[in-house]
């Protein structure tokens, strides 16, 4: 639920400077904006992987001019008429929609990846921390069913703090819902690849992100079920720095490989070439 704390917010700088330079949120090095964008928001100094928008991710993975969005009209719902100390969820979500142009925390669609037809779901952390709610679950379900119909591989790129509290149990039920859709792919013998990016935690890690045929993680991505603070309070000890990182999960057998962003498309394409029935 990390979207309540805005990360890496910096004071507005003079326009000329901001146009040219980006400061790496991790190592604070100043990088040419052009270089930053060419390296897909990966720091050339410390290889920090900055979060990507869905568009950037689609541009990274999908061949130019081949992407078609699915379920574009599916939007967030407010089944509980939820409001908290700061106001109503409906307003907050509508504001986020205006700001980001997103209807929900995921964009789904199909296209070609290195020439291979695929269905993809790309989560966008900007929409309420990429949280999983009814709209997210519905989009994933529809995308999975589309992959089933076309008999194309399905890829989900996760970036999420977990289930969205504001839709209560309706959010929790998206965990079995998305997994039920993925089970249909499995029964049909269709591949599903899960790409975990920073962060993939809570109800997303405990549902569709962790049941891939192949698990790929981005370097240093936070991946885990419970929050670090909760665990430290429970076991009354400090956790190691690398706890719940992609590297830690690789070591413990929960991801197949850690792939730097520049190699992600090639790796996915290479892997899917092993799938015989295209």
């Amino acid at each position: 639920m990390g979207w309540f704390t805005k990360r890496h917010e910096t004071a507005p700088k003079p326009e000329s400077k901001e146009d040219i330079w980006i400061q790496c949120p991790a190592c604070k090095a100043h990088i040419y904006k052009e270089e930053w964008e060419k390296s897909f928001k990966v720091c050339s100094q410390c290889s920090y992987h900055e979060r990507m928008t869905w568009r950037e991710r689609v541009d990274l993975l999908i061949d130019p001019k081949t992407f078609t969005e699915l379920s574009a009209k599916v939007s967030f719902n407010d089944p509980l008429k939820f409001s908290d100390a700061k106001g109503s969820y409906a307003e907050k979500a509508a504001e986020t929609r205006t700001k980001t142009g997103l209807n929900e925390s995921i964009v789904t669609g199909y296209g070609k990846m290195g020439g291979i037809k695929v269905v993809v779901g790309v989560m966008d952390f900007r929409f309420l921390g990429g949280s999983l709610a009814s709209g997210t679950g519905e989009k994933i379900l529809q995308a999975a069913l589309y992959a089933l119909k076309q008999r194309w591989p399905f890829i989900i790129v996760s970036a999420s703090g977990g289930a969205r509290m504001h839709e209560g149990m309706v959010s929790l039920m998206q965990m079995p819902k998305t997994c039920a859709a993925l089970a249909q792919l499995r029964e049909a013998g269709l591949p599903y690849v899960s790409v975990m990016t920073d962060p993939t935690t809570g109800g997303v890690s405990a549902s569709y992100a962790m049941v891939g045929d192949i698990h790929i993680a981005e370097p240093k991505a936070l991946i885990g079920f419970a929050g670090r603070r909760v665990i430290e309070e429970t076991i009354k000890q400090k956790l190691p720095d690398d706890f719940q990182t992609a590297e830690y999960l690789l070591e413990h057998g929960f991801v197949d490989m850690i792939v730097p962003r520049k190699d992600l498309k090639n790796t996915l394409t290479q892997l899917l070439k092993y799938y015989g029935r295209r």
Partner: protein, 314 residues
């Protein structure tokens, strides 16, 4: 143990105890007075429980005397053959299961175990299952599929165990795997929330063809305390969060998440085990008989449609 909001009841109970202590051999007059007090105690209990707030229901659902899985097994089943271990790592006491016979129907029971004594509670991690618990549950569900017996999942957990070891052994993967496998398990599954339905830890065994809730049980995406500390930035606002999260059986029936409510006796399940068991048995048997009549093809189609419809509002 009476809860804070049961004060009117407690006062009458004190008066009854007082009167009994003063009259070890009660006269006819005292007996009549005691009967009157007992009647008003029941009336008071009924009125308190008729208007519980969601936060008060959380207190009832977590009541130390609330029936736990072993009480349900003892009260509902003529036989229980416990099976142990996940065949990978260990035998989690936070999740138990085995073959059981309920009203002559052979079933597989799985469920969270909170433990009654402090020693037991520690052994069970207070009902917070570890990955090996979810994997044991899955193993037993697969066994149920093979033996053609339905599964009953008793849900009562604050949540999956948030520990270092649990993370290392793949808490997320274990829960996720269960969700996927349960979606296509070729035998009927009944999920019944008897106390606390704590988020991922609950849904990890909760993919039922029907979802039942005891009338004072709660089921939530996050604990009210956790939600309050994040969204209200104040853990003491848990009552507000409990209200906003719509976690009661009635709310979840309205949201079409719970399918049926098992009515608890007056004053809650912890005051009347036999009454609770009778009500639970009646509803379970009804659904078992109905679900056992379905072909596995039809069963799976219905299960898929049920979960696919979750959260569709337009």
């Amino acid at each position: 143990m009476n809860l804070d909001f049961e004060k009117p009841v407690s006062e009458i109970e004190e008066a009854i105890a007082d009167l009994k202590a003063k009259n070890p051999e009660p006269s006819a007059d005292v007996k009549a007075e005691l009967d009157k007090l007992e009647a008003s105690r029941l009336a008071s209990l009924k009125s308190v429980y008729a208007s519980l707030t969601p936060w008060q229901m959380v207190q009832v659902a977590r009541h130390p005397d609330r029936p736990l899985i072993r009480d349900f097994l003892a009260g509902l089943c003529s036989e229980f053959i416990e099976l142990h271990g996940d065949r990978h790592f260990g035998d989690d006491q936070g999740m138990i299961g085995g073959f059981a016979t309920l009203d002559g129907i052979r079933v597989m029971v799985i469920g969270h175990q909170k433990g009654r004594t402090l020693e037991d509670k520690i052994k069970c991690n207070f009902g917070q299952a570890c990955p090996e618990g979810y994997r044991k549950a899955l193993r037993l569900m697969k066994l149920a599929e093979k033996f053609h017996v339905p599964v009953i999942a008793f849900i009562d957990t604050p949540g999956a165990f948030p520990g270092k070891d649990a993370e290392e052994r793949g808490q997320a993967e274990a829960i996720a795997r269960n969700l996927l496998e349960m979606a296509v398990l070729k035998t009927p599954v009944i999920a019944i929330v008897t106390g606390e339905g704590g988020s991922g830890g609950a849904i990890g065994i909760g993919v039922g063809d029907v979802i039942l809730m005891l009338s004072n049980a709660v089921y939530s995406v996050i604990s009210p305390e956790g939600c309050a500390s994040i969204l209200w930035r104040d853990g003491t606002k848990a009552p507000e969060a409990a209200n906003a999260l719509k976690i009661t059986a009635k709310s979840l029936l309205d949201l079409k998440i719970a399918d049926e409510i098992v009515p608890e006796p007056v004053g809650g399940a912890h005051r009347d085990y036999p009454g609770t068991m009778a009500a639970t048995r009646k509803v379970l048997v009804k659904h078992l008989k109905r679900l056992q009549g379905l072909s596995s093809k039809k069963l799976l189609k219905r299960r898929f449609d049920k979960y696919a419809a979750m959260g569709r509002f337009r």
